[in-house]
């Protein structure tokens, strides 16, 4: 049994049906209040002052680093770097580490269902370095299989960078198995956890993940904050992309500079302190419910959603077999944006478009879809309401025009 307190989410009081959780999630009161508490009561900078409120801010901030480490099963809190989001984390990996690590002729494996932030940095790197990007072929359900991965690996493959759960297809990838294949071939595994860390249990040590990235705002936390996990041996080699306060030991007019150790070296400037504190509360909230319970509940909810939508003739579903709570669909003959605007008339929020996965169109032969993405606070009643509205969509243009 899962226990959900919808009243913890103030925004849900407005009869809002929110199905765009892959884009961002709603925030519970405890997260918002923790951030307010910092600003109201101890809003000092961290690591800078010998006075009580600065020490309290520093302690709270570092405490969340420990919490994040524990939440994702990292061995050591020094392996956790706070960034501005999963995008920032991936850019740091690509330009702060891979740029120096990769050699001429090395290959990076991606898939066509990756989010833009796990494709474009690599494309940019390939412009300045002689590396090759290869896309691992997906199966007919647009899912990644181990066989296909193994076939694509060559002696030049040095990196596999993939999402644990993709943001449109929503396939849940077997990271443990992929990791074994990667490490048997001396390949570094970069995991985009933006869509997985909020929805299922993550264990970087157990799965032997080299780099993991995710965003706070997709897991009940605030915007503007993300996490970069890296194995200590790799983070030690990572070059900072930003230089300034907080990250240096000392510097001289002669140009002599020495930087602090990880992770501080990689967090130049004043970090988003309130946001980090908010993320701490978000993790507490998720752990209280239980990540396994969240995963199973969403899986069941997706099944229910699919079973209901399948019964509506003019609805086309693109990824009904995948386990995560993401479902892409269209109403036959209706442009996805018109469908989204129609649903909005009934206070139902869905996303229309290509969902930042612009190369996925090569796979599914369709450019634009409506995407429903569930979280644990969604209910069967909300799905019933959606079904009711879609069932009477014959008058869609009457409603939106």
């Amino acid at each position: 049994m899962i226990i959900i307190n919808r009243e913890d989410f103030p925004i849900l009081n407005n009869n809002l049906i929110y199905f765009d959780n892959s884009a961002t999630t709603l925030k519970p009161k405890c997260v918002i209040e923790a951030m307010n508490d910092y600003y109201y009561n101890y809003g000092a900078n961290i690591h800078r002052g010998d006075y009580k409120i600065s020490l309290k801010a520093s302690n709270e901030y570092e405490e969340v680093r420990n919490k994040v480490a524990k939440f994702i099963g990292a061995n050591n809190a020094t392996e956790i770097v706070f960034t501005s989001g999963a995008t920032d984390s991936l850019n740091k990996i690509v330009f702060g580490f891979m740029k120096n690590y990769l050699k001429d002729g090395d290959e990076v494996l991606l898939t066509k269902s990756e989010h833009a932030s796990n494709v474009i940095p690599w494309i940019e790197l390939a412009k300045i370095k002689n590396i090759k990007i290869k896309y691992i072929p997906l199966n007919k359900n647009h899912e990644l299989t181990i066989e296909s991965l193994e076939k694509t690996i060559t002696k030049n493959t040095k990196v596999i960078a993939i999402a644990a759960i993709t943001n449109v297809v929503g396939d849940v990838r077997n990271i443990k198995e992929i990791s074994e294949v990667a490490h048997n071939n001396n390949i570094i595994l970069v995991v985009d956890g933006a869509q997985s860390v909020p929805h299922m249990k993550t264990n970087v040590a157990l799965d032997n993940i080299d780099f993991l990235v995710f965003s706070a705002h997709k897991m009940l936390g605030p915007t503007g904050l993300g996490v970069l996990y890296g194995k200590k041996k790799y983070l030690e080699q990572m070059k900072p992309l930003e230089f300034g306060g907080g990250m240096n030991q000392y510097f001289e007019v002669t140009g002599e500079v020495e930087y602090k150790s990880i992770p501080t070296r990689l967090e130049a400037g004043t970090p988003p302190i309130a946001e980090v504190i908010g993320l701490g509360k978000a993790i507490d909230y998720l752990e209280k419910i239980g990540m396994d319970k969240i995963y199973n509940y969403e899986k069941e909810l997706k099944k229910y959603l699919v079973s209901k939508l399948e019964k509506i003739d003019k609805i086309v579903l693109y990824n009904k077999s995948t386990d995560s709570g993401v479902l892409a669909f269209n109403i036959e003959g209706i442009f996805s944006q018109d469908t989204a605007i129609y649903l909005d008339e009934y206070n139902i929020c869905v996303r229309a478009g290509n969902h930042c996965a612009k190369i996925l169109k090569d796979e599914i032969n369709i450019k634009n879809t409506c995407r429903l993405s569930l979280y644990f606070y969604n209910t069967k009643e909300e799905i019933d309401k959606l079904v009711e509205v879609l069932n009477k969509s014959d008058d869609l243009f009457k409603v939106i025009l």
């Binding site: 605007i341 478009g353 243009f397």
Partner: protein, 142 residues
Amino acid sequence: MDGELKREIIIDNYQNPYHKGLKNDDGYYKANTNNESCIDNIDIQLKIENGIIKDANFDGEACAISTSATSIFLRKIIDKRVEYVKKLISNYENLINEKEYDEELLGELMAYDNIYMQPNRKHCALLPVDTIKKILKQLEEE
């Protein structure tokens, strides 16, 4: 124009658009506008001879508002002079942006006179004119 008629004009031009499908002919000026929202994507081609729009076609994937507006717009500018097109564009932009416009000149385009009430759809309605403006700019730069 009453609501029912407006809806009819829009739906008719969306479901059975005029001038849809590009011609494989080098004699056309072409432009594409990817909507800022990154969904709508329309190509327009115009054949312009001696300052007159001789032919106009479009293609692409777009919502009901932008598809229908493109259909209506192209229908209105064929066999017209570039100066007329410019005048039509500025009046149409004024309509969408709640400024003064010539109702008679706009004709069927008056179907979009309530779009300002849905600010997030303004750019859909403006998609055809943004694209045609790109073509007129090419023409001027020649």
